[in-house]
């Protein structure tokens, strides 16, 4: 059961973005996001599609709380609460997860050690004590099984020497381990072969339970064959120029971004 939110009876959206204007702190003359409005209800999957440079990744990073950006105007509400005063760690602990487009290597820190720190940070945030080693391991094993990642991955250093596919799968695994309610996937499909894409998608689908929501940021329609979105938005030049159902993605696949005045060859090269 899902209620579309446009009446007074609607529940609180999980994420609501109102007229969001964003610029780079170091380059205040360039506005990257020029008035975004977006509402994601609990359980919904939304996709933002657009050519490179349209502001997709900026939106993802702003949601996660990256400090290089300045919100000039507008609001981001998560579960009805303004996020602007929360740092990235507090946002994560509140249930927002950003799956990075380029996951970062952390030399000398095992995935196990890293996730232990993350899980316990979240527990502390929720006023709970640290999880003991046994409970932690059981939790990791269960999630590794669910997301279909080899448990051995946890013994390696975070993202160090991971293949592109392994990095993306590890992101989804972390999202499952942290039990986040809003997953923002920043081009999690890029650079994946078809098998890796399927594993990543199945991992995400296994987390869909009617309350968790996802925002899929992607360039290509391909991912949406596996994770079927409720809504598709086209982001171009920092604005959402069109929104629609899942068919919109197919339209884009067929006609590209040219109908929106975008030069395709420039896009393909990036």
């Amino acid at each position: 059961m899902r209620m579309k939110g446009n009446g007074s009876m609607s529940p609180v959206p999980l994420l609501e973005i109102r007229n969001l204007h964003v610029r780079l702190e170091d380059e205040p003359s360039v506005e990257i996001l020029k008035g975004i409005d977006l509402k994601i209800m609990p359980g919904e999957v939304h996709s933002i599609m657009g050519p490179n440079g349209s502001g997709k990744s900026t939106l993802a990073q702003v949601l996660a709380g990256k400090e290089d950006y300045e919100i000039v105007e507008g609001q981001i509400l998560f579960k009805g609460q303004d996020l602007s005063d929360l740092g990235p760690d507090e946002r994560a602990n509140s249930g927002i997860f950003l799956a990075f487009q380029y996951p970062v290597e952390i030399p000398g820190v095992s995935a196990m050690q890293f996730l232990k720190a993350a899980v316990n940070a979240k527990r502390a945030f929720e006023g709970q004590g640290e999880l003991d080693a046994g409970a932690l391991l059981r939790h990791f094993r269960a999630k590794a099984l669910q997301i279909n990642v080899p448990f051995e991955m946890l013994k390696r250093n975070v993202n160090e020497g991971f293949s592109g596919g392994e990095k993306k799968r590890f992101e989804i695994f972390q999202m499952a381990v942290l039990d986040s309610v809003l997953g923002i996937l920043d081009e999690s499909d890029s650079g994946l072969d078809i098998d890796a894409l399927r594993i990543v998608s199945e991992g995400v689908n296994s987390m869909r339970d009617g309350t968790r929501s996802f925002l899929l940021i992607t360039h290509y329609q391909r991912l949406l064959n596996y994770i079927v979105p409720d809504r598709v938005h086209v982001l171009i030049g920092g604005r959402i120029v069109k929104s629609g159902g899942k068919d919109l993605a197919l339209e884009l696949e067929e006609h590209g971004y040219a109908p929106f005045g975008v030069n395709e060859s420039a896009v393909a090269s990036a």
């Binding site: 400090e67 990235p88 760690d89 602990n93 970062v104 952390i106 030399p107 000398g108 993350a118 972390q174």
Partner: protein, 496 residues
């Protein structure tokens, strides 16, 4: 504000130095100043044999002709040390003969520091406590040096059964004069350098270890150095001899009270590894570092050297240096025996206005000798961190090999990292590899951690621990756990 600016801003906030308390006991001092009378006073206090007094006096005369070296790289410099204003001997008034006789206040001091002087099979460490996994708990024999004297050495009886001698230097001079006489100054001669020569003249106590032929020492040995008295220098001397085929792992830890004036710590450590012997020497140095303006703190000017005397012997230095206002030391290995191995694993952290100029010397003499150097420098706050290392391959060092890796990490933008590697190869078949890197705590790494819910402070500590993993993995396990904690504590001021 970006995260590194944030880090730099907060680095001025003073971190907690939890070992900064003073123990109030009756002590006996030598009056400040250094001349022949001082040396005779110390020697008489210790009822030393004539040969040792003569050795000390030779050192004193040599020292009086020397001048303090100035080649160390200290961007902030330091006020001149007035050697005549220092007291060269401080000891608790009651000389204890057994644990029962040790002043309870001293026992309490070591308890506070987490160093058990009773022979319970408890953990020795910087912190100790229930969090440490049970398998990490095993017996560690401790020699506790309080200012100028050793107050207690534990597990001596149990070690004796294995034939291992572990006692204070004073006791060794009394009980094993032939061994001391044979090896004292054999690696670091009394005339070696300004500070080692000073130490030779006035050294008060320290630890002595002898592991006989073929014996693997049944437990970790450790010395815990505590400076307590004001206006006093600590000049301890440690000598470890591993006879043919012997093995020993030894650890030293150090703390001192918070004081506004600087205090001098000029120690000498000598290691001798005979044929097939292995000595592993680990240091966790956490002397009081001074405050954020550079006031107070220990001057840690130490000479450490080991000789791989026999073939197939091995000496490994591991150091975690987080304390002291100034650290100036180069634990070195002379690779004399063929196929001998020298190792140096170092983490040096400078925060506040700490300055460290540290590294190693690997002197290859024998054939097929190998040395490994892994140095990790962490600079935070206004800390200045210098790696200085010498790799020397002598003419006869056929096929000698060295691998050096030297990494620095900068936290904030008011600190510095500097590297001075010297390589001197005189044998065409000898080879040396050198890798070096300097990085900042990367914004993207920090963001990746915080985006997973980890606070910025914990993220920095996690990243730095990852950076140091290669060195920590060389520490005995229980100390690796403590080193991790110590690093986090030492970085506390740097992220808020």
């Amino acid at each position: 504000m970006t995260s590194t600016e944030e880090v730099a801003r907060l680095s001025h906030e003073r971190r907690e130095y939890k070992y900064g308390f003073v123990t109030d006991i009756e002590q006996e001092f030598a009056s400040p100043g250094l001349d022949e009378g001082t040396v005779r006073f110390i020697s008489a206090k210790k009822q030393e044999p004539e040969w040792l007094l003569e050795w000390r006096l030779k050192a004193l005369r040599k020292w009086q002709e020397m001048t303090e070296p100035t080649w160390v790289f200290l961007p902030y410099g330091h006020p001149p040390i007035d050697y005549q204003a220092i007291s060269y001997y401080a000891a608790p008034k009651q000389a204890p003969k057994s644990l029962e006789e040790v002043d309870p206040k001293i026992l309490e001091t070591y308890e506070k520091l987490g160093i058990p002087l009773s022979e319970t099979r408890a953990l020795l460490g910087i912190e100790g406590g229930p969090e440490t996994p049970a398998e990490a708990r095993r017996a560690v024999a401790v020699d506790a040096v309080f200012d100028s004297v050793s107050v207690k050495t534990t597990f001596q009886e149990e070690l004796k059964k294995a034939g291992v001698i572990f006692c204070s230097m004073s006791e060794a001079v009394r009980e094993h004069p032939e061994l001391v006489r044979q090896y004292l100054g054999s690696v670091v001669p009394y005339s070696d350098n300004f500070f080692a020569t000073l130490n030779s003249a006035v050294f008060s106590d320290g630890s002595f270890v002898y592991v006989p032929k073929g014996v693997k020492c049944p437990m970790e040995l450790s010395t815990y150095f505590r400076i307590n008295a004001r206006n006093t220098g600590q000049f301890e001397r440690t000598l470890i001899v591993a006879d043919e085929g012997a093995e020993v792992s030894y650890l030293e830890g150090c703390t001192a009270p918070v004081r506004d004036e600087h205090q001098l710590h000029a120690a000498v450590v000598e290691l001798v590894a005979m044929k097939g012997a292995y000595i592993k020497y680990s240091t966790i140095q956490n002397w009081y570092p001074g405050d954020e303006t550079g006031k107070g703190g220990i001057y840690n000017f130490v000479t450490k050297r080991g000789i791989c005397k026999g073939d197939d012997s091995r000496i490994s230095w591991t150091q975690v240096e987080t304390g002291s206002a100034i650290t100036w030391k180069y634990p070195s290995v002379v690779l004399q025996g063929d196929r001998s191995k020298g190792e140096f694993y170092s983490v040096a952290l400078t925060n506040l206005r700490q300055q460290a100029d540290t590294g190693t010397k690997m002197i290859h003499i024998g054939r097929d000798t190998k040395s490994t150097i892994v140095s990790k420098g962490i600079s935070a706050g206004e800390g200045q961190n210098t790696y200085r290392g010498l790799v020397q391959m002598n003419k006869g060092a056929h096929r000698a090999h060295n691998y050096t890796q030297c990494d620095s990490i900068l936290i904030g933008d008011k600190c510095g990292a500097h590297t001075f590697p010297y390589v001197d190869i005189r044998n065409p078949t000898a080879t040396a590899e050198h890798e070096a890197s300097t990085t900042k705590i990367a914004e993207d790494q920090l963001f990746y951690c915080t985006a997973r819910g980890i606070s910025e402070e914990d993220a920095v500590s996690l990243l730095v621990n990852g950076f140091c993993k290669q060195v920590f993995s060389e520490l005995p396990m229980e100390f690796a756990v403590e080193a991790n904690k110590l690093l986090a504590v030492s970085l506390e001021g740097s992220v808020g």
